[in-house]
Symmetry: C2
Subunit: 208 residues, 2 copies
């Protein structure tokens, strides 16, 4: 659990970062401060459910969210959102209710985006549009690279790649959820981990 | 091969569509007409190679492109771009040379985007920025859905899904390239196709 001091520090760091990127004027700064951007959610909170319509995006300042959908009552993990990751609901583009869930894996401090905030930002800073476009283009490319890597990787390579690119999640996320995210059964993920551990012990390069 | 009449009709249809979407004024229309947007490439032309730096995007008006990268001299197909698909090079975001190739599978008429065109468009129509953002958001979601479907699908489901969502490519693309795109060997794709054909013959629902 985060205490009030920590939350307050995280908020002001976030605004400070935003200030640097956007190069705000005094007036713009006031507008942003008035936006009521922050939300704090307890572990286990549902931010979105199958069948709900939502146009709220979540930028994770601290914490971890997981998105999944259900097939035959089984969770299929589509992604994890930790520090500096942005979740955008499909509803914004499809204009239909969500088919997936978004849940807090940890107590999480997030900054929210929604059509009202967006309108205020765009009316006050037209250059915000460009920032959004560039950030969306970056997300598109990142996802493209992940997809390509996933497609051509063996199960073992997928796990190694995940461990390399998102090492903090290895500690924070239950193993069965990592397995689902990687499109593996929990059993085959266990086998892969045992095999890798043996290799590491042999090479005296023991994982901590 | 397309003849001059066909190319000219395709161009004017494309501009007409763009005109409707953008709701151009007379002056804006002149700007767009002066942009020199169109290129015609013969089958087999390379539009991008590993190691090249390019910020040119290609919107396919007619034809088909394929993007791939090479691992141990083997082509790994990342995507196909047919009518109304847009290819954007990773260089734009990474500012590094491309790691993949882009080749024409058919004679292709495309409309190009590059930083110079983009600047002219943005200077003349600021609302173009928003159109770009919305279109990038749509691409992001489309890719997200494809990725999720791919991750949780069996080989057979992947093929069926491809055949459903991009039926015209089944006829236009060599089977070994479809196999690579689906992350399968050509042999397993053949097996899947034979199995599906049997099912279809049994149910008297014969594919054409």
């Amino acid at each position: 659990m985060m205490n009030l001091k920590e939350i307050s520090d995280l908020k002001s760091n976030y605004l400070h970062e935003m200030f640097k990127i956007m190069n705000f004027s005094e007036k713009e700064w006031e507008v942003v401060n008035g936006l009521n951007l922050f939300r704090y959610f307890k572990k286990g909170s549902y931010l979105l459910r199958n069948g709900q319509f939502s146009e709220t995006s979540y930028y994770v300042i601290k914490g971890c969210l997981v998105s999944y959908y259900k097939i035959d009552d089984e969770e299929r993990i589509t992604d994890f959102y930790a520090e500096k990751d942005l979740f955008t609901p499909s509803c914004i583009t499809t204009k239909k209710p969500s088919t997936s869930y978004l849940v807090c894996l940890e107590d999480s401090l997030v900054s929210i985006g929604n059509p009202e905030n967006e309108k205020i930002m765009l009316d006050n800073f037209p250059r915000f549009e460009q920032l959004c476009r560039i950030s969306t283009e970056k997300s598109l490319l990142k996802q493209r690279i992940e997809f390509d890597q996933f497609k051509f990787a063996s199960s073992e390579e997928r796990y190694i790649n995940f461990a390399k690119t998102r090492p903090s999640l290895l500690r924070r996320v239950p193993q069965y959820q990592i397995a689902s995210y990687l499109g593996l059964t929990p059993q085959s993920l266990s086998r892969i981990r045992r095999r890798l551990l043996k290799v590491e012990v042999k090479s005296e390069n023991i994982a901590v």
